[in-house]
Symmetry: C2
Subunit: 115 residues, 2 copies
DNA sequence: CAGAAGGTTTGACGAACGTCGAACTATTTG
DNA sequence: CAAATAGTTCGACGTTCGTCAAACCTTCTG
């Protein structure tokens, strides 16, 4: 059960447009791809290698969670997030798989257009 | 071959982040879903049922085309667009299929949250 | 209990975005 | 050739977004 102070939508309330809106930022796509291993990951900057401040990262976490993509686990002062893989697959079959495929990860890793 | 005055990226230059950026607008997602039948569709407002002005629609067409999602065919004064289905599938397998699945179309059709 | 550690929240700022109406271009029709 | 048609481009507008630094809140540690 998710922590009540970090609300997330019910599975039925996850909207495709909300997901796509959340994934319009390359950094957030990267986060989802890192989470694709199904594990919980610590909510710190090093974990995702994103060269942004922690307040910005926290904002991205919030955006992903409110879109229904992630869930949070809090133990002590450590926050961890994970993909809601099962619920997302049930709702939009194949979507997460295609976004975290080898081709997708390779494309996002190569950040911008090679000049 | 695409018309030179409506440039589109080569298949290899289609970026996932570009696609997701283009699809962050619900109207553009809707357009892609209408195009999912593989046919060319006229570039007019009625075709997509989107309650926006034609200048706005044209802006959406441009965004989709520059992201590599669509291609244009011009005959006389009629412009038609189609999804670049094959190239997109080759580049990001399963992505378009998941975005235009029955579940995805149903979700986007039900525009906002039911109160 | 004082301080450190791990993240979140707040407020502000500039950039990017969706939208529209008006002007424009090219083609077809009378 | 003049008017109509199909759609794009331009310029302007209000809004939303990503970003950061600073303040904040909990939990852990000495």
């Amino acid at each position: 059960m998710p922590d009540s102070s970090f609300p997330q939508p019910d599975a039925d309330d996850i909207r495709l447009t909300g997901i796509l809106r959340a994934l319009s930022d390359p950094g957030r796509v990267r986060i989802v791809q890192v989470l694709a291993d199904g594990e919980y990951h610590a909510c710190n900057v090093e974990e995702f290698g994103l060269d942004i401040q922690k307040s910005t990262l926290s904002h991205h976490f919030k955006t992903l969670r409110e879109a229904g993509l992630t869930t949070v686990d809090i133990t002590g002062r450590n926050h961890c997030i994970a993909l809601r893989t099962g619920e997302l697959e049930a709702r939009f079959p194949g979507l997460i798989a295609s976004l975290t495929s080898e081709a997708a990860v390779a494309d996002v890793s190569r950040r911008a257009a090679p000049e």
